[in-house]
């Protein structure tokens, strides 16, 4: 294999779990013969008859169905057409899936795939990043893969986990990212990854923002700085240990998130580091998030709304002067 995209990795992971695990099925709008709005299930309906099914436009019922099937021992994967539409299945996710195990002792192994994040022209309702909303709820695991390799292995892992997993896959990465082969080995569940080693600042990021952070880090080499980038991989749980170890080395922290700031991943990470690693910080920790409006439609507005390599680089320069 060569030139496997992030999107294709997701398709291949689904193909693999369908092949290996008879408990798996996929339910979502237009995912059958059509192969999904983004083609993440292309050809799967044909290869696995009766196990890749078109759903009616009923996000609440789609999630309810997955819960009922999970209780019966299946491993459903729900594809939301866009993360933004998961708000219509919100109640089932946070009140039924997330609470089931604590309340009843029965586990609820399901995966909800959320095509997330902004793309040019996506606009307010096809661009959202909802990881913080779901991560607020005990009982939900929230994954945010940033690489082709992670898109593949973490989706396998998501299906294997006995709890409901919100799988935030980034639409902007679907075609942009490519890898030569899929990995054989995997980081342990919930472990963050040092995406780039450095000694001057720790940038914590996840999903598409990892790549903006890496580009910014590259840019700052010209200024003679050596930036470390931590890719969270999962945002619930957060691998606080890896973050603290990095901050212990660098003394400085910037957290970057594509979502809105209030109560987001960045707020949570900073709160943990301030609480548990206060003494490690040589300067105030900083965060960089989306601007506080709906995600705008026009690419020029969108490009400013979200953090980019250049705004990350700016934030880094400011932080290095503190």
């Amino acid at each position: 294999m060569s030139n496997i995209t992030y999107l294709e990795a997701i398709r291949l992971a689904q193909q693999r779990v369908l092949h290996e695990d008879p408990r798996v099925f996929i339910y979502g709008q237009d995912i059958g013969v059509f192969g999904g709005a983004f083609k993440a299930t292309k050809n799967l309906a044909k290869e696995f008859p009766g196990r890749v099914l078109d759903a009616p436009i009923s996000e609440d019922a789609m999630v309810g169905l997955a819960i009922g099937a999970a209780v019966e021992g299946m491993r459903p994967i729900i594809e939301m057409q866009f993360a933004d539409f998961s708000t219509c299945g919100f109640n089932q996710i946070v009140n039924q899936a997330a609470t089931l195990h604590y309340r009843t002792g029965t586990s609820c192994p399901l995966v909800i795939r959320l095509p997330s994040g902004g793309t040019p022209g996506g606009g307010p309702f096809h661009s959202q990043s909802m990881e913080a909303i779901y991560a607020h709820y005990p009982g939900l695991i929230v994954m945010t893969p940033a690489t082709v390799e992670d898109a593949y292995t973490m989706l396998l892992e998501a299906v294997a986990i006995d709890d409901p997993v919100i799988f935030c896959e980034h639409k902007f990465l679907y075609y942009h990212l490519k890898a030569d082969r899929l990995p054989e080995t995997v980081l342990p569940f919930g472990k963050a990854r040092i995406a780039r080693q450095g000694r001057d600042v720790t940038v914590v990021a996840y999903s598409a923002m990892v790549h903006e952070a890496l580009a910014a880090a590259e840019e700052l080499t010209h200024d003679g700085y050596d930036i470390e980038v931590v890719d969270l991989r999962t945002v619930r749980p957060i691998d606080t240990d890896t973050i603290l170890a990095s901050v212990a080395r660098t003394g400085r922290l910037l957290v970057v998130g594509e979502a809105w700031p209030w109560g987001g991943v960045a707020a949570e990470v900073i709160s943990r580091v301030a609480t548990e690693g206060f003494g490690l910080l040589d300067a105030p920790p900083q965060r960089l998030n989306a601007k506080e409006t709906p995600v705008p439609y026009h690419p020029a507005l969108w490009g400013t709304h979200r953090p980019t390599a250049s705004s990350v680089a700016n934030s880094l320069r400011q932080l290095l002067e503190l």
């Binding site: 019922a61 309810g64 209780v71 019966e72 009140n95 709890d163 569940f189």
Partner: protein, 354 residues
Amino acid sequence: MTLGKASVSGSKRVGKPSQGVTRENARRAYRLMLEARVLEEKLAVLYRSGKIVGGVFLGRGQEALSVSLGVHLRKGDIYAPLIRDQAGRMAFGDTILDTLRTYLGSSLGSMRGRDGNIHRGRPAEGYHAMISHLGAMVSTVCGGLMAKRMRGETGAVGATCIGEGGTSTGSFHEGMNLAGVEKLPIVVVVANNQFSYSTPNERQFACADLLSRAEGYGVMGRRAVGNDLIDCLGVIGEAVSSARSGEGPQLVVADLLRLVGHGEHDDASYIPEFLKMSPLGEDCLDLARTKMLEIGWLSDDEVTDWQKIIEKEVEENASKVLREPAPDPSEEDWNAFSSLDPQQKQHLQTGGRQ
């Protein structure tokens, strides 16, 4: 007496007496109704004496309808009862003991004090534990049935109840529509008790008849007389066997009245006297006893005996549970996650490290 007098909207009209009603069935159902009634009276007492906190939500007046669904289900079926289904729950295998344990929050109950009252079940055994959000359980039952179908298990049905108020939720609609699309063997019973909490039907829906919704979902519709056990047994029996034999989703609508407040905190003074005095207001237990005495399926002595036995059982269970340990917060596994290993669990806690 109307055995199986089912008014069927949609493709099929059934006139003959139903196999759903047998002497055995009816006797079992009546006894379970009595059990539910006596148990619920005890719950009300425990609530008033402050032993149960939060609330107590009773099914008084709805036992006939509720039990009729429960007795037609069997092991391997899926059942998601709602608020007023004590009788149906007992029929499906729930017990006086576990009901009391759940209401009293005993750590030995199936919900271990984590959830309470009507939010009770054993999902792994097909007995779903409702969430409060009305309508949500319809699609959950559908999911269980999809699982069975994919595994090639046939012959099982799924069932759930809902009040007429719950039919206004988007969740109910999506679940019903999905059931239709997937042609699942689900039976949905709507208990139209004329009020959702205090809200009368004219503020809840505008159709002349909720049964008219069956056609819009492409499912079979049947009407039952909600406080008439024999009718309910017949109609729901047919619905369940239709579903079981592959005829797709079934909607049963039954008119009745709840003879009690929404919860025990509520005196239901909004229910007008004329309704209480109407046929809807007749107590299904009285009606069933009269009918069954008439046709010789029951004797007065039996009823008296059963009443005594049940009362004793309820009292004994109540005093037992009242002495059982409350959950101990310091022993509680404060973790919402499932089968991850302990280190992973620790890892999952936001504040667990502090």
